[in-house]
Structures are given as C-alpha cells and as structure tokens.
C-alpha cells in the first residue's frame, strides 16, 4: 500500500497558531489562516465559471480502480460516486460515511457478516444509461484483475475473495462477467456483500473510488483511465498526460439523487506543470485556484506567505494524516537490541528533525507516538520518550548505549529516498544528532522510484545493512488497522513492497489486530491504543513529525473547507466567484 493516501486533521486547529480567532462555523467563517479548517469560507450556491486547479504532479491514474494518490481519490469525487462516501462537511463530521449511490446505510444481517445496500432511483452514467447494482459489482470485480488494472488498493480483494481465487472480469467465464460469488445482485437496485467474518471497517472499503460503478460495455481494460464513465456531476472531457485534465458537466447527473455534491463550476481544469515554484507564483497572483496535490507550497513561497499577513490569511495548514518516521530494522545488528533502538530515539534531535520537515507551522508537530491525531484511539499527549520538549537527551542515550553493550557507539546506514528533499534533510539532521553519541550513520540515498524494492525488500535491507529506514505513511481509511497494520503486523512483512520496515514480529500485536476486527469501533479504538503503546515500548520506530501542509487558496474560491479525511480542500464543493 503506497504511502499516498488519506486522512484526518481535527483537534490540531488549536495548536496551529492563529487558528482563525472566530468561532463562526455556520458557513460565515472570516478569512484568516486555518479558517477553512473549522468552517465553510465564502459559502455560496452560485453556479458557473471555471475552477482552475494546478498540480506539479500528474495523476497516477484516472481509472477509479487504479488511482492511489490521496488527491486523485479526492478528484474522483467529481466523477465517481460510491455506495457510501465521506460526508461533505468541514471538521469531524467529514469523517463520517453517508449514503451516496445507496439510498440508506447498509443493512447488517447474518451476525454482522452480510451488508445489503439499495441504490437510489434515477441514477445515470454520463451517456444516459442507468446505474445498476451490477455496474457496482463489476467495478469491484475489476480490482481483482491486478494483472490488467494494477495500482490501487486491494483491501476489497482480501475481504471478498474468500478462497474463490477470482481472477477478475477479464478472465471470467460467466456470460455477464459477474462471477464473483461473495457479492450478489438479486435485482438492479440491490447489492449484497457476504463476508467470511464480521468486519466493522468494511464500509470504509466501499467508500474508496475503486468500489465505484463501471459499465461493462464501456470498460476498455488498462485504457479505461483515459476516459472513465462518470457517475458524478462531472465527466472527463479530455486528458493529456503530463499536461491537462478537463472536466465538463455530466448533463445526466441529477442533483436530486445526490445530497452530497454541489457541482458549482461549469468546468474544471487541472493543469500539470513541472515547475512547482512557478505554480506557487500563479497561486499567489490569483491566476491559479489551488494546488491539486495539496502537499504544501515550496520553501520559497512558504517564507513569503508566512511573512505577509494578507497572503497568510489565504492559507491553511491542515494535518495531512501522514507521520514521517525512521523505522529501525530489528533484523540488522545492533538494532536487534532494544536498548540500541532506544539510544537512537533518545539521541535524535526532535527540533532539528521538525525544522528539516518545514518547522512547526508548515512542517508539523513533533512526533511523539505512532498514531496520527484523529485515527480513533490516538493519544496526542502520549510521549514515552519525552520528545515534545524538543531537545536531544544525550545522557539518557549514552546510558541506553551502555545497556546495549555498545558504550563506544556503533556504525549503521540510513536509507532515504532521493526524490524527497525533506526526507534527505531529516536524514542529515538524524545523522548529525547521532554523531553526538558516537553512532556513525552513513546516508544511502536510494532511488525513490524503486523504494518498494530497495527499502521495501527485507532481503535487500539485510544485505545493505539498512539500520534506519526513513519513510512516511498515512491511512487508507480512518481506523487503527488502516493506519498501523501494514507498519507493525508481522503478517504484513512482504518480500517486496514491505512497509513493516522494522520487521516487528510480536504475536501479541498481531492478536490485538485480530481482536479489534471483531468488536465495535469504540472497543477497537482502545485496542489500537494498546498496539500503539506496544510499538512505542518496543522502540521500533522513531516518529519525526505528524505532518502538516501549508496550502494556499485563491480568495475567489467559494464554499471552501478542509475535508478532514484527506486533509485537503474538498474539491467537489468548490465554486468560483468571478
């Protein structure tokens, strides 16, 4: 699961410094930095105009089953509807799933193993054909065809295959290409999911764009992303990779069937540029509306915005849901010893790592544990290694080194992706701090595009002696399992594309994940808290920061708010005033 996606902001607003000052969350928020975090700015119902999005990064794919970047999921809200979707509201309300294609929440039966959804009336694709439950099933089946349409998340595959070894609709012998047994479509309005075991997070999987409807007649396999069928208010008019994506209205979309979407602009463009600094200039000059990638402005623009009160008022610093961290590989000596791992955590300099990520406002808060704020069960105040005070603890680190049997220090290697300048800077900061306790860390800059086979292949990690692996992670859906399981569950250690970099093999952690799946969300949250504690007590991972991004919004935008699930503006809600 690529570190590309999702999630959450919330209570951080207070910690953001200058969080608006007003309490107006009733749609009349005043323009100020972070005003869009808590309320809707420039609330309006005025239609028309063209929304000009820009991005320094092209989409990975417009095929709903293949996109995995967080901003692409957000863009999918323009043209892909799902059975359930994150509510179109600022603040914590946005974390809730509401019915979208479905007319109501799923009906649970069979001891929590069967979900039944009924579609609304009058749903149509952009060619006028009605959207049926079979289109939804077909869309989900496409995820199984990882040989033809790879790239997206495969959670649904894990839940729905149930030993069938279904190979996707392209190799399906069923005449209607609907051979997946665990999903039933008794009529055109009804879809039934039969799970092998109760799974409380299942609706979150149905909210991913890959669970959207795809009409079999218009599926072009690997090429589907160039012209996907639209179920939302906009359809893709044209897509020139690396240049521009244009959306126009889907005239068959009916607002009465869609309580979520406003569909204000007549057209939406996303211009792709290779020059991020130029894009920032355009944003500040008002010729571009938003950076679609929403990963924050470049350093040059950052200084400008933070020093100018007018510009600053047009910016927000949402928490992105990412934690930036260094994992310590327990299979590489001396990190098989917990005290050597503790020594690294204690010797690291929280402030220089934070500054390397962009400082407290634009970079993020000092990371103290491994659950980001607002994943249920997170404890922002849980700081077992005293990192929040901001200084390295050299004496404690030296004591830990002595306990580890390496009082004179040791040598290790830091593996860092070379295409992430901020990660390289954190590697340098970590290296400098470790030098103070005689830990000699060599920085190995690996090819960022090959990270999954360099950092993510344990064999390579052992061979190269990567003791410290720098990375970042955000959840695909807002639950402790969606965030932590790929990072710390021993069953998620993969030969390739591994994200359990530390190779944590703790049966008690694995058992807690299994237990959490079967209980209600509140009880599960308490279990995820426990897992977080176990991970921190084991000193497997050194958190740098809980990430923030400084994003600029054009003051001409209407209906602006940060959607907490993405930590980005809710693209589908935006309108333009002039």
């Amino acid at each position: 699961m690529v570190a590309a996606t999702a999630a959450l902001a919330l209570s951080v607003t207070a910690a953001c410094g200058g969080g608006g000052g007003t309490d107006s969350s009733n749609g009349g928020a005043k323009n100020a930095q972070n005003a869009a975090l808590t309320g809707v700015l420039n609330a309006s119902d005025k239609k028309g105009g063209t929304l000009e999005l820009w991005s320094s990064q092209d989409v990975d794919s417009l095929d709903p089953a293949r996109g995995y970047y967080a901003f692409v999921w957000n863009l999918n809200r323009l043209y892909t509807r799902t059975l359930v979707a994150y509510d179109a509201k600022p603040g914590a309300d946005g974390m809730k799933l509401v019915p979208d294609l479905a007319g109501a929440e799923g009906v649970l039966s069979n001891d929590g193993k069967t979900y039944t959804y009924t579609l609304r009336d009058g749903l149509k694709f952009d060619d006028g054909t009605p959207i049926t439950s079979k289109d939804v099933k077909y869309g989900i089946e496409r995820i199984f065809a990882q040989d033809v349409v790879p790239g997206g998340p495969v959670y649904l595959m894990e839940q729905l295959d149930q030993g069938q070894k279904y190979e996707g609709p392209y190799k399906d012998s069923d005449p209607n290409k609907l051979g997946l047994k665990s999903v039933l479509t008794p009529d055109d309005k009804t879809i039934v999911f039969n799970l092998a075991a109760p799974y409380a997070d299942f609706p979150y999987l149905l909210a991913m764009p890959g669970a959207g409807p795809v009409p079999v007649a218009r599926d072009t396999g690997a090429q589907y992303g160039s012209k996907p069928a639209a179920s939302g208010p906009y359809k893709i008019e044209s897509y020139e990779p690396g240049k521009i994506i244009k959306w126009t209205r889907n005239e068959f979309w009916d607002a009465t069937t869609d309580p979520l979407r406003k569909a204000l602009p007549d057209a939406i463009n996303m211009t792709i540029t290779t020059n991020a600094d130029d894009m920032d200039q355009r944003l500040m000059a008002g010729t571009a509306d938003l950076d679609a990638a929403q990963t924050g402005v470049q350093a040059a623009a950052r200084t400008k915005i933070l020093q100018d009160e007018t510009l600053k008022a047009n910016s927000d610093t949402p928490t992105t849901g990412f934690i930036r961290y260094a994992a310590m590989s327990t299979a590489v000596a001396p990190f098989d010893n917990i005290d050597c791992r503790k020594a690294v955590i204690l010797a690291s300099d929280p402030t220089s790592l934070q500054t390397a990520r962009g400082g407290p406002v634009a970079g993020g808060d000092i990371g103290v544990n491994m659950l980001p704020p607002n994943i249920p069960g997170s404890e922002p105040a849980y700081d077992p290694y005293g990192r929040a005070q901001g200084k390295p603890q050299v004496d404690a680190a030296k004591a830990a080194l002595a306990a580890c049997g390496k009082p004179e220090g040791f040598s290790t290697v830091i593996a860092v992706r070379n295409n992430k300048p901020a990660e390289v800077k954190t590697a340098e900061a970590l290296q400098a701090a470790l030098k103070a306790v005689n830990i000699d860390a060599k920085i190995d800059q690996i090819d960022g595009a090959q990270a999954s086979s360099l950092q993510g292949a344990p064999d390579n990690v052992h061979a190269k002696g990567y003791g410290l692996i720098i990375s970042g992670w955000a959840a695909d859906y807002p639950s402790g399992a969606g965030y932590l399981q790929p990072l710390v569950d021993s069953r998620y250690i993969l030969k390739n594309g591994n994200f359990n970099f530390a190779e944590i093999k703790d049966p008690s952690i694995d058992a807690l994940f299994d237990q959490a799946k079967t209980v209600d969300p509140a009880a599960a949250a308490a279990l995820y808290t426990q897992i977080n504690h176990k991970v921190m007590e084991g000193a497997y991972i050194l958190p740098f920061v809980t990430d923030k991004a400084l994003n600029y919004r054009n003051p001409r935008l209407t209906n602006v708010y940060i959607h907490q699930f993405w930590g980005m503006y809710d693209f589908q809600a935006l309108g333009v005033s002039s």
């Binding site: 040059a300 220089s352 406002v361 400098a432 190995d444």
Partner: protein, 337 residues
C-alpha cells in the same frame, strides 16, 4: 606559434633565443648583456602582467585552502555537519540575524533550516571543486596530449579514427550523459565510499569529455611541426618514433598544453558545480558549491546571502583561473593574439 627546436621549455634547452623586443629593452639599460632562457623571458613577461599575477596568486591561495581544508576548519571554523537549532527561526527555517546570520562566530552565516556553518562548508566545497577540476584537467591533458600526438604524427587511419572520436565527443551531450552515468553508478566502489567515489566519478566523466579540446590543439600543432627541419633532421639521424614524439615534439607543445590545461580548469569547476546543482554531484551531507547554490534557490528572496556566497565563490574562482590562463598564454606565446 612557438618555433624550432631551440624554443623548447625543457631543462635541456641550450639555445637562448631572446625575444627581439625583450632584447631591445635590455640593451638600452647598458647592463652586461646576459643570455636568458625562454622560461625566464616568459616569467618576466608574466610578472609584468598585474592582472594575471593577481589571478595566479588567488589560484595558489585556493589550492592551499583546498589542501588544508580539514585543519583550517578545525582551527577556525565549525564541523561541517553540526546543526545549530538555536540560530534558526523555527517557523520560517531562516537564519536569525541579518545577512544570513553572519556573526563573529559564523563568518559567512549559517545554512537555512539546519544552521550549519556556511564558512566551513565553503572551505570544504572549495576542496571538492579544486580537486575535481585539477584532476579532471590532468586526465584531459594526458589523454589529449597522447591521442593528439598520435593522431597528428602518425596520420592515416590513426588520425582518422582519433579525429572522428574527438568530433563525436565534442558533439556529445556531455551534461546529459554525465547525469545518466552518475545516477546509475553505485555509491561506493574500488573501496572508495561516499564522497571519494563520487569525486572519482566526476573526475573521470569531466576529464574524459574534456580531452578532445586539448587533443585537437595538440594534433594541429603536431601536423605543422612534423614537417619542420628539426624533425626531418632527427629522423635522418635515425631517431626512433618514440624519441621524436616525446623528446622533440612534446617539449614544443608544452606551452599550448599548459595554457589550455589552465583554461580547462575553470570550465571544469563550472561543470562540477552544474552537476552538483542538478543533484548528481557530491552527495549530502558533503558540501559542494553547486549543491549549495541548488539548496539556496529556495531562499533566494528570503535569504539572498546564502545564494550570493557560493555564487561569488564560483565566480571569483573561475575569473581568477581565466585571468591566470590568459596571462600565461600571453607570456608564453606573445604572438598568439
């Protein structure tokens, strides 16, 4: 250009052919007329060129700084990788104080974000730049002299092959090739790691692409020299090819080779800086001027000092080498204008 066997700059030179102008000036002073070697004459001419001597002095200074970078920094600077959080504004990541945090403690200020001492990093950056530029120039010169000699002297198919290779290399997109090569090579090889292996790669790449410039000049010189009487004479006396090449021809080529080597060095400095700027030079956290410039481009408005310092260093160094090279050419070869 340089003429005849007597024009040799080598130690064995016996013919004291004075430049007519020099001789004229001296004879009017009334002092005892003394024979001077070409080398002495060139040195006198060079000394009179103030600009060139200033350039030369600066080059000498830089070489000393590069050689003694480690003791200099440990005596009067700070470690190149020591972070100083207290000198940085945490919100903006900029150095506290004006002009990039210049102070009595940090003479050239500190780096944004990390607070590392810029002075120490400039000194170590000089070491990288100077070493890479000199050694790459040496590689170019040796390759260029040998292949140019061979092509010019042997003629025929050797000349054809070497000349085509030179044309090919001169037309080759050197920067693109270097980027591709440097990014596929491993971080450590031949027992060299990190910084040294990268320097070796840079020296190899820059040196290899630089030799045709020297090679073409050497070949041209050899083509005209090999028809001269002194070559004919030694050939008729039975001299072997090796002797003719290295004892007769090469000394006559010393002046142009020296001049062009000096002029290749500043080009190499710029190439090294460009590669570091493009991210394929020396790897972090080791400093290089080009890498610092690249880093500084994010701060060109908020902390211009940080961009100006490495920029000025590159500018002055390249200027000094060019002035020195020009002066050297004027001194060794007054007719070549």
């Amino acid at each position: 250009m340089v003429s005849g066997p007597g024009a040799s700059l080598s130690e064995e030179s016996t013919h004291d052919v004075a430049d007519p102008a020099e001789g004229g000036v001296n004879s009017t002073t009334g002092k005892a007329i003394e024979g001077r070697s070409l080398r002495q004459i060139a040195w006198r001419r060079f000394k009179r060129d103030r600009v060139a001597t200033a350039g030369g002095a600066f080059v000498g200074f830089l070489v000393l700084v590069a050689i003694f970078a480690t003791p200099i920094v440990s005596l009067i600077g700070h470690p190149i990788d020591a972070f100083n959080n207290d000198l940085i504004d945490p919100t903006l990541g900029l150095p506290l104080g004006s002009f990039g945090g210049i102070s009595g403690e940090h003479w050239l200020g500190v780096e944004p974000t990390s607070g590392r001492d810029v002075f120490s990093r400039i000194i170590f950056g000089a070491q990288t730049s100077i070493f890479v530029a000199f050694l790459a120039a040496l590689v170019s010169t040796i390759l260029g002299a040998i292949l140019g000699l061979a092509a010019g002297f042997m003629g025929g198919w050797v000349d054809a092959v070497v000349s085509r290779i030179m044309d090919f290399l001169l037309a080759f997109p050197q920067l693109l090739f270097s980027i591709a090569l440097v990014s596929v090579l491993p971080d450590s090889f031949f027992g060299l790691d990190g910084r040294l292996s990268r320097m070796a790669v840079l020296i190899g790449v820059i040196g290899f692409f630089g030799w045709p410039y020297i090679g073409r000049i050497v070949r041209g010189q050899v083509l005209s020299l090999r028809e001269r009487e002194f070559i004919e004479a030694s050939r008729s006396l039975g001299a072997r090819t090796g002797r003719i090449l290295f004892r007769e021809l090469l000394p006559n080529l010393a002046a142009p080779i020296l001049v062009y080597t000096t002029l290749i060095i500043p080009t190499n400095i710029i190439t090294e800086a460009s590669l570091s700027f493009l991210g394929v030079g020396i790897e972090a956290p080791n400093p290089s001027w080009g890498g610092m410039l690249y880093d500084a481009k994010s701060y060109y408005q908020s902390d211009p000092t940080y961009m100006i310092i490495p920029g000025v260093c590159i500018f002055i160094t390249v200027l000094a080498f060019n002035l020195f090279g020009d002066g050297l050419r004027d001194a060794l070869d007054p007719k070549a204008h």
